[in-house]
């Protein structure tokens, strides 16, 4: 080949260099890195988030120094001295003062998985690991021995939980309702005093009404007290005695036990049952233990409520602004400048919107509303109603934040409607508004929806501005609930994204809370991914429609 005269003149090296293979590989490496980053991140979140609730076996470690520890292995690692080591979730915080402990492999003599090892999730104090020994009712022993006690526990526990739940519901809902009535009556007195003076008949009437309500409430409370006492007494004394790994004996009141399972003897389907039950609690229950256990229902609800109200606010205004810019405003430098400004607002940091929301919505607008309409509450207990963060202000702030996104995408959707369709409509005698309503908007709808859904995805994940305008770490009163007037725009609320920050960074026991954070993150990412996929799907449909329907 090298003897071919036509090839002799070519420099092999120059040909090689012209392909710039090394540089191509570098650019390819960057793309691969970006891909690896996103896939690694999502994969990690999904694997950690999905695995959190799966019951893992409990190991009983016998250590070289004679200690016996019952725990769940959460991590393996290289010890500084080169040997392996494992991180065990040892639980039983009240006994040992720690939730987790590292053990070097060299330290561990034997590791077994005893069948009766039990994981207990409690209302307070974190998890508990131990072996059931006796089922107690006060002094009386109902069952003795690991299996008998466990069986007894399993039959009695649902009933105990049912009673506990009922008492809890009475405390939260019924008593809360009574307190609300009392407060409303008290505010009525203050209102009467403010409106008609301290010695007016109106105030006297209100005061009399308040007294009557107070009496009624006291009566109702006594009834509730009776019921809760009855429920609690029935639960009192029922306890399950455990021996911990190190042999100490601890009695846990049964009402304190949220859930208990013996992971080492669970079959796959049983495990699945525990897994599903824990997911159920996560999705539907209130949080416990500074949000690091239990459920996140108020946060899910808060996120949904806020995002929906935001969408309701942003959609009409965004569409109006885009319609104006695209269909009505005269083309000129001013419109171009406004368009650039709106484009830029999409890039303004979200925290700036948060500061604006706090300063303008909460303090200026909310403060004025309080002065005008909610003065009694302001005077009576110095509590602002609208003058502080709340659902309405949070939604409005995020609506403002996402407005540029919606305007831009709506404008794009409007301009994607071929002009020939508009002209056709005019030619048939339709007016401008008829054209927009019957021809332009229906064609642009998928594009508008895409923008709206993307805005919702952004709103659902945005947390920096919310920290300023109404998100709280704990707010069990839902912003939308069954009590009149059903939507409480002034209430502070919980939010999934803020929960990630709160549980991950402000939790007293961040190591134990970490799996919870992963689960919340997984949930949030799943919601946002769902919204994104919906947007992409709608965008795809839109393209297909235009390809087939072009004039």
């Amino acid at each position: 080949m090298s003897s071919d005269p036509s090839r002799r003149r070519r420099s092999a090296h120059a040909a090689l260099a012209a392909h710039g293979e090394a540089w191509v590989w570098l650019t390819g490496g960057c793309l691969a890195l970006a891909m690896a980053m996103i896939i690694g991140l999502l994969g990690y979140i999904v694997s950690e988030g999905v695995a959190t609730f799966w019951p893992r076996p409990l190991e009983l470690l016998e250590l070289a120094d004679g200690r016996r520890v019952l725990g769940e292995q959460t991590a393996r690692d290289q010890a500084p001295d080169g040997g392996g080591r494992r991180l065990m979730r040892t639980a039983n915080f009240e006994l040992t003062g720690k939730h987790f402990e590292w053990f070097d492999d060299a330290q561990v003599k034997t590791a077994t998985t005893p069948a009766s090892a039990t994981v207990v999730e409690r209302l307070e104090g974190g998890r508990f690991h131990g072996f059931p020994t006796r089922l107690l009712h006060g002094e009386e022993v109902l069952a003795e021995g690991a299996d008998a006690a466990w069986k007894g526990f399993e039959t009695r526990h649902p009933e105990v939980r049912r009673r506990w739940r009922e008492a809890w519901r009475i405390d939260k809902q019924d008593r809360g309702e009574l307190q609300r009535r009392l407060r409303a009556a008290r505010l009525a007195v203050v209102r009467a005093e403010l409106n008609s003076g301290p010695e007016s008949p109106a105030r006297a009437a209100a005061a009399a009404a308040e007294e009557a309500i107070a009496k009624e409430v006291a009566e109702a409370e006594r009834l509730l007290d009776g019921r809760t006492t009855e429920l609690r007494t029935a639960n009192d004394g029922l306890g399950l005695e455990f021996a911990t790994g190190s042999g100490e004996s601890v009695v846990l009141p049964m009402a304190e036990i949220v859930r208990a399972w013996q992971p080492n003897r669970l079959s796959f389907t049983d495990r699945l049952g525990v897994y599903v039950a824990r997911w159920g609690e996560f999705l539907w229950d209130d949080p416990r233990e500074a949000n690091s256990a239990g459920g996140v229902f108020p946060a899910i609800w808060g996120t949904i409520a806020m995002t929906l109200i935001m969408a309701l606010l942003v959609a009409p205004f965004g569409v109006l602004a885009a319609l104006y810019l695209r269909e009505y405003a005269s083309r000129g430098p001013v419109t171009a400048a406004v368009r650039i400004a709106i484009n830029n607002l999409a890039g303004v940091p979200s925290i700036v919107y948060g500061a604006f929301g706090l300063g303008f919505f909460c303090y200026v607008v909310g403060g004025s509303i309080d002065e005008l309409l909610f003065r009694p509450a302001l005077v009576a207990d110095g509590q602002p109603t609208f003058g502080t963060g709340g659902l309405l202000w949070a939604s409005l702030t995020l609506a403002l934040l996402t407005l540029p996104v919606v305007i831009v995408s709506t404008e794009e959707a409007l301009s994607a409607v071929p002009n020939s369709m508009r002209e056709g409509s005019y030619a048939c005698g339709a007016s401008k508004w008829q054209t927009i309503r019957r021809i332009v908007l229906p064609r642009a709808l998928p594009g508008i929806m895409t923008g709206l859904i993307l805005a919702m995805a952004r709103g659902a994940g945005e947390v920096a501005p919310l920290m300023l305008v109404g998100v709280k770490k704990l707010a069990l009163d839902l912003p939308i609930d069954g009590t009149f007037p059903f939507v409480h725009p002034e209430r502070e609320f919980m939010h999934l994204a803020y929960l990630i920050y709160d549980v991950g960074f402000q939790s007293p026991n961040s190591q134990a809370a970490k799996p919870m954070v992963f689960t919340i993150t997984f949930l949030l990412v799943a919601i946002i991914a769902l919204l994104n996929v919906a947007a992409i799907w709608i965008r795809g449909r839109l393209r297909r429609r235009y390809v087939s329907q072009q004039f």
């Binding site: 191509v24 960057c30 104006y324 604006f356």
Partner: protein
Amino acid sequence: MKPDPSFTGRARRRTTRPGVRFGDACARAVITLGGIGTIAAVLLMGVFLLSVALPLFRSASVGGPALTAIEGAEGNRPPLLALGTDESGGIGWSLDLGAGRIRLLDLADGAVVSDRPLDGSDGDLGQATALRVHPGSTLAVVGFADGSFRTATVGIESTFLPAAEVDDDARQLLVGRAIAAVDGAVLRTADDRWARIRVVAAVAGETSREVSGRIVDVDVTPLAGGPLIAAVDESGAIRVERRSTKRNMLTGKEVTKRDGTTIPPEESGASPFRAAHVRLSELGDHLWAIATDGRGKRYSIRDIDRPEVMESFDAGVGAEVTSVVRLFGGNALAVGDTAGTVRVFFTSRQPDAAAEDGLAVVVAKTFPPADPASPQAVVTLAASPRSRLFAAADASGKVRLLHSTAGADVLAVNAVAADRLASAPRILAIGGRETTLLAADERGIAAWDFDAGYPEINPRTLFGAVWYENYPAAVHAWETTGHQTFESKYGFIPLVVGTIKATLYAMLFATPVAILAAIFSSQFLHPSWRARIKPVIEMMASLPSVVLGFMAGLVIAPLVERGLAPVITGFFVVPLTLLLGAHLWQLLPTAARMRLAPWRLPIIGCVGLPAGSLASAVAAPHVERLLFGGDLRSWLDGRGGSGLGGWVIAFLPVAAIAATMVCGRLVNPWLRSASVGWHPRRAALVSLAVFIGGVALAVALAVAAGTFLDAIRLDARGGLLGSYVQRNAMIVAFGMSFAVIPLIFTIADDALSSVPDHLRSASLGAGATPWQTAIRVILPAATSGIFSAVMIGLGRAVGETMIVLMAAGNTPIMDWNLFSGFQTLSAAIATELPEAARDSAHYRVLFLAALTLFALTFVLNTVAEIIRERFRRRSHEL
């Protein structure tokens, strides 16, 4: 006109139906109004931010004075006055010991509301020669001519009256006015309630008679057990005393214990030190004694029985001291002298301090005379009980309000004028909520309403170094929350530096990755692959930043902390592995290369990257041993190892560029001519050898430069590298790159792929390789698009909040260390704005931060938009 019958037989209307007309008009109105309204609402944001931040720079204002004329003192005893106001600033009180009277004044017009003589219940207050009221409380100490001194209660008491007890006269009052009532006055307050105001003046405590001369100055500070008192007599003897009251558990009787020491006046020497002013620090650990001639001494009185002189200092700087006041917080003194200068002193830790406690008294702020041409002696000073604002009056009667933190004049009034005082004020007071200024001489009291604005904020305190109390030197500091008397530090610079640091490091990592990735995806990737990969990366852009922050702070940070050496090594080894992979790839037969070309990305991703990571993990311990003395973390802390490692890391990129240039300029031209007719594999082998030689050359260059700099004793530690903390700029850069890479990638990819196809086709048709086309044709055409992508990424990075909040540690430190934490403007807003009281200086400063971010991102995005617009037009022209 009769309508034409149409073919349907029905009459056709030729006009538009009114309903349609009306609908059209309505729609136009609603859309125009709604559209303009919405756009205006969005744009309103900037205006609102500005309106909140601007009052920070509002200048102080002052109203006209209200004058109260009072009878001169009886006899020729110089009057001794105490002045003050109530909380609202509506009512003033004066205690005139010369005349022996207590007065309450309505400050709206200066009317005397109540005027009563000191009676027997006030003790010997009328005989006092020195009086000091602790600011913000009613605790006072009085000294007498016989050298005795006692604690006293002096001040104003205000209680709200129940509505039932308000009499008819009081009901007739205008808001803010007062009338006389039994032993005091009744005031109608601004929130429409009635308050009973009473002046209390009673000597209470035990008498101390340890010094003999006439007491000339006293001071008092409340400590946990009881008050600490200092007094100085005319001979210069100082007495410090601590009173502690204990209740006997059995008898219930209270016993007051007095511990203290007398410091005798200096006897020896030509001009012995004779203290004339004594001041205690708020915590009671220091005593300052200042003589009229300007000499000052600082005593440590931690052990009350053994005061020790810590140091002598010069308080007068050549002039005589006329007045000394302790500023709010009790750590600093303001001293006025006959030359008209006011100086602020406090102790701070100084390296060359002579005192054994390592502290030295420093002159931190100097306020020159109001009129330097004809300086007037300072006659009296008064501190605000609420902030570091204080007032100074000079002999000409000019009263100035000064702020010690800002080191600036706030406002000035003339106290001596026809409708004001007759002579220079003898005493001043700042009252109300820093809204009332009182000045009094023997015959009158003048009161001004003033609004100081935000005296602690000005461009100098925001952007300049400020010498804060007890700091060794002027610093840039951001520290906004502390105890009640805390000196807030509103230095913007640490936050600005933090913001720039976060942005810079994030962009340094994200920009090359994003742009190179965009080049590959737009130029070398099969379109069907690209259609799948692009949405995935776009998806990354919609990941909430709180998720990224959480991953960065709680997952990546601990990982990197454990494997710092592999990560640092990886920055160099992974690209090297990829380059090596490319050279090995060239060894493949051309046909195989062509066939495998579409699979380059998976090969790079699944083989190249893991191999690179593995290589870094393997190389890391060796690199650590050779460059960083065996342990990178302790090397960064400055323990062990030489400066070589840091320089090698810093110079390696430069050396790599140099080596590439050497190869490009010297080796390649020679090779090009020498390789004519070679077999491609031979050329590939030679180029592999050249590559390895180039790497060796780069390393050698970096090591040489490092050795040289190390030999002249320069060390990279302390600048860009330094002690490692878990949450640092590198972690933030990683976290932020997740947010910025997709943004830049998407826009850059769009810009690159929207370069008209005919350019590409022409280039390829002319025989250029895809690489040559990409670099010489496509990239130049897309430059402005890529630039705008970078600008938009920059805008996102500047304002990013959650990632910084969660992964940067939130400490407002000012350095450029890649491995230290920091705080940004956005994180400061997020954490501090909920706690800042509405309309306080803190609140407005945070809004200023928001406005800064708003303006910055607005400018960045506008520039990007304009560039993109130009690019779009140019690519149309192409």
